[in-house]
């Protein structure tokens, strides 16, 4: 038992010395209760400190450790070795992103896309804090709650074929968050947020492949959010046709 091992094939890329990414193989102890992240940490601590990757909470909520595991976008902190044993496991950085180094991807485009959907409450009238919280019924909370569960792990960007072909596409996670705020009973930012959500880079970019919802580790179902967003954008288009801005 203690002697069982498993092979990890890990994509390596160090910008200071490598002209292109290559695979490196590591033989790692196999433990039934180890996740892929445990194996990567064992490599880093005992065999090769030069291997770089992101992680933090190791409990599936911080969203740092998304990687391609045998070609599929996964959180490595809840992907167990036992799912693959005794076959080797291939670990690569999330696709559809530039690689900073090894398994670390460049986050800049995602942060920009997140800002585009204005993921904050927009109010025309601001309630003084002394007047207490807004009321929100459990039913009103339920309308957007699922889409607020996104941990920004970006597995959906790695899974989405549109992101690969059209890098400006705002993408599943950020769109789902934009729609989360559109659905929030406390929000009054419909017009300014809809400009982004209903734009060419917004919901209409989605071809409804649905892979985003397949890989989402938190069951946010961004594909469903985007479909709702398309309905909302259509209604918005009719409203604007009948009643141009400023007259509403």
């Amino acid at each position: 038992m203690a002697d069982e091992t498993i092979i990890l094939r890990v994509l390596r890329y160090r910008p200071e010395q490598d002209s292109e990414p290559t695979f490196q193989e590591y033989e790692v102890p196999y433990r039934k209760d180890w996740v892929v992240l445990d194996a990567l940490n064992w490599i880093k601590e005992y065999k090769d400190g030069t291997l770089s990757f992101r992680w933090s909470c190791r409990m599936g909520v911080c969203g740092s450790c998304g990687m391609m595991v045998n070609g599929r976008a996964r959180l490595t902190c809840n992907t167990f070795l036992r799912e693959f044993y005794p076959n080797p496991i291939t670990v690569e950085p999330l696709v559809n992103f530039d690689i900073e180094r090894d398994l670390v991807i460049c986050m800049d485009p995602f942060i920009e896309k997140l800002k585009r959907v204005k993921p904050w409450i927009i109010r025309e009238d601001v309630k003084p804090v002394e007047d207490g919280p807004y009321e929100q019924s459990p039913a009103e909370l339920y309308r957007y709650k699922q889409f607020s569960m996104c941990i920004n792990c970006m597995l959906c960007y790695a899974a989405c074929p549109v992101v690969g072909l059209h890098p400006e596409f705002i993408g599943p996670a950020a769109l789902a968050l934009g729609i989360r705020y559109l659905l929030d009973s406390r929000d009054q930012g419909w017009d300014e947020r809809m400009e982004e959500v209903a734009s060419h880079d917004g919901v209409w970019g989605c071809t409804f492949v649905g892979e985003c919802s397949e890989v989402c580790p938190k069951h946010v179902d961004p594909a469903a959010a985007i479909q709702q967003g398309k309905v909302m954008a259509t209604l918005d288009w009719f409203k604007r046709l009948l009643m141009p801005r400023g007259q509403r």
């Binding site: 997140l114 904050w120 459990p138 607020s148």
Partner: protein, 595 residues
């Protein structure tokens, strides 16, 4: 050498306290430029892992007095009562602000914010967003902060040193992970919001990032660390991983049993159990809703009596929530179910959850006043890395998220005022410090050509020494042994040789700098634990088993004098609540005149 990156206020850390402070500065004075320096992307911060909730008085059956008394008695009277009063009064406003910013608080049927009970509370007052409260608070704060153009985001920059000119703090030296560049990020005020230090111990709920960085930076700059001997063990972590099972599981009615199925907490002064089907269960401040220190201590006693279960990761007991039923578990504790299924391999709807005490929180931290100010002008701290102190010898569950908001905001507001009148720094003095720090890091780690120690072995030896010597129960001898081991690890650290000598995204270098911080924090913890010759809250000295108000109703301060750690003392602020006996169970709660 690259130029200084100049701002007005520099915030180190992008969790709840740091983001709240950033928004507070921007709201107070939109003309100020604010740097948010975080070693990970802010939405990855450890606030994300907080599950159960955040305390604030909002319901008609509750009162400020109840929250104050619960906090002070929970703290075993080591909290500063002026700070607690202020905290309790500002808490509802801060949680309401989060609500206005979009936090999806769970609701009662009438649309008002719902609350649940937590350990050590006389009245239920914990606001929650199912059992992912920290996650929702953090994302709400981060997304709200994105609207402020005054904020400059230094994402994935690791602060290694405070910049000090004369007797004022003027910024930090920080390493950009992407490029390896070491730069000075300056401002007239620095707010440390780097969180806790659970990773000093081997078995912790804390994320890998919780390495006490801000505490170490302050200590090295001559600022005292307060009450560092008080380490909170949360009674319900998953064996092996240390993943937290929230106290809300007990707040909703979960029970704890030993290997005989017996609710052992009744043997430890926590009251008598009611049947789980009794409508009065769970009784607040009683049994499973006792405070964390007492529950973790009860576990050790059960273990010594041979009444715990044995597993591959040591002894454990069982947290049973089966009687809540699948519907309530899915509605109120979905994350508990997800975590237990993924990491313990059991479904809590059908099986009890194996749990054991696990290092969770550091009550101590950088010594501050109620505005987050330290003894060094221009240096502030807030959140877990600070010690105001409202937590004293034992923090109550769900006070820490609120603390991040209340004191993050206060530090931000005060800093915004302070920078208007503080003198300008001498840039060439700061620039020289940046160059010296960059040279130190290159020489000690990147340009080193040999060394016989591996990072992981030094770290594990330090962690095991701390668990063995400065755990739930301590003695002078056990702490002394831990101290000697920590000192040995500090020597061995000088011999650490890294595999990675490159500059771009060198995470091994970051791990080394983090271990350097942890070795400082561990040293402070050992010295404080040795000096406090009494038992109070989370600090249980078996050689001094009683509380000693005559000699130790005081905060310990560990400060470096000529490079050597010294322990000094500071009085606890008592306003209206004279030290009394902590009572839980039937006669728990407020003194009779306040019932």
């Amino acid at each position: 050498m690259a130029e200084l990156l100049k701002h007005d206020v520099v915030i180190v850390g992008g969790g709840a306290a740091g983001l709240r402070a950033a928004i507070a500065v921007a709201e107070r004075n939109p003309n100020l430029s604010v740097a948010v320096v975080s070693k990970i992307y802010p939405m990855r911060s450890h606030t994300v892992s907080a599950e159960g909730g955040a305390a604030a008085v909002i319901k008609a059956n509750d009162s400020f007095e109840h929250h104050i008394y619960d906090t002070i008695s929970g703290a075993d009277w080591l909290a500063d009562q002026d700070a607690v009063e202020l905290f309790v009064h500002e808490a509802p406003k801060e949680l309401t602000l989060l609500e206005h910013w979009g936090c999806p608080w769970s609701r009662d049927p009438d649309g008002t914010v719902a609350v649940r009970p937590f350990g050590g509370m006389k009245i239920e007052r914990t606001w929650f967003a199912a059992d992912k409260t920290g996650f929702h608070m953090l994302h709400t704060l981060y997304q709200t902060a994105l609207r402020y153009v005054e904020l400059t985001w230094y994402d994935e920059w690791f602060a290694t040193k405070l910049l000090v000119d004369g007797d004022r703090c003027y910024g930090v030296v920080a390493l950009e992970l992407r490029t390896g560049a070491i730069r000075g990020i300056t401002g007239k005020a620095v707010i440390l919001c780097t969180g806790g230090a659970g990773r000093v111990f081997p078995f912790t709920t804390n994320a890998i990032t919780k390495t006490g960085d801000g505490m170490a930076l302050a200590l090295r700059a001559g600022v005292p660390l307060k009450d560092m001997e008080f380490i909170q063990y949360h009674p319900t972590g998953l064996p092996g991983t240390g993943i937290l099972i929230t106290e809300a599981a007990r707040g909703e009615g979960g029970i704890m049993v030993n290997k005989d199925g017996y609710r052992y907490l009744q043997d430890y002064g926590l009251g008598k159990p009611l049947d789980v089907n009794d409508p009065r269960h769970p009784v607040k401040r009683t049994m499973e809703l006792g405070p964390r220190d007492k529950l973790s201590q009860a576990f050790v006693m059960e273990m010594r009596k041979g009444r715990t279960l044995k597993g591959p990761y040591g002894d454990y007991v069982l947290l049973d929530i089966r009687h809540l039923g699948e519907k309530k578990i899915n509605e109120k504790l979905p994350f508990v179910r997800e975590l237990a299924r993924n990491y313990a391999g059991i479904d809590p709807v059908y099986e009890p959850i194996p749990v054991r005490p696990v290092v969770h929180y550091v009550m101590g931290g950088v010594d501050t006043d109620v505005d987050g100010r330290t003894v060094l002008d221009g240096l502030y701290a807030a959140g877990e890395c600070a010690c105001v102190s409202i937590n004293g010898a034992n923090r109550l569950g769900s006070n820490s998220l609120t603390e991040c908001l209340v004191f993050g905001a206060r530090a931000g507001h005060h800093a915004a005022e302070y920078v208007a009148s503080a003198p300008d720094p001498n840039d060439s003095v700061l620039q020289k410090q940046v160059e010296e720090e960059a040279a130190r890091i290159r020489k000690q780690f990147l340009e080193k050509t040999e060394g016989k120690e591996r990072l992981v072995t030094v770290r594990k030896d330090m962690q095991n020494a701390m668990e063995d010597g400065v755990g739930i129960y301590r003695t002078e001898q056990s702490v002394q042994q831990a101290l000697e081991k920590v000192l040995e690890c500090r020597e061995r650290f000088k011999e650490v040789y890294l595999d990675d000598h490159t500059v771009s995204f060198n995470t091994e270098l970051i791990s080394a700098l983090e271990l350097e911080c942890m070795l400082d924090v561990a040293l402070a913890m050992c010295h404080a634990a040795l000096a406090r010759r009494e038992s109070r809250g989370a600090h249980q000295r078996e050689d001094h088993p009683n509380r000693d108000d005559e000699n130790f109703l005081k905060h310990s301060l560990v400060v470096l004098r000529d490079g050597q750690p010294k322990v000094e003392w500071k009085d606890v602020v008592i306003t209206k609540w004279p030290p009394g006996e902590r009572k839980y169970g039937a006669d728990s709660g407020l003194p009779t005149d306040q019932k």
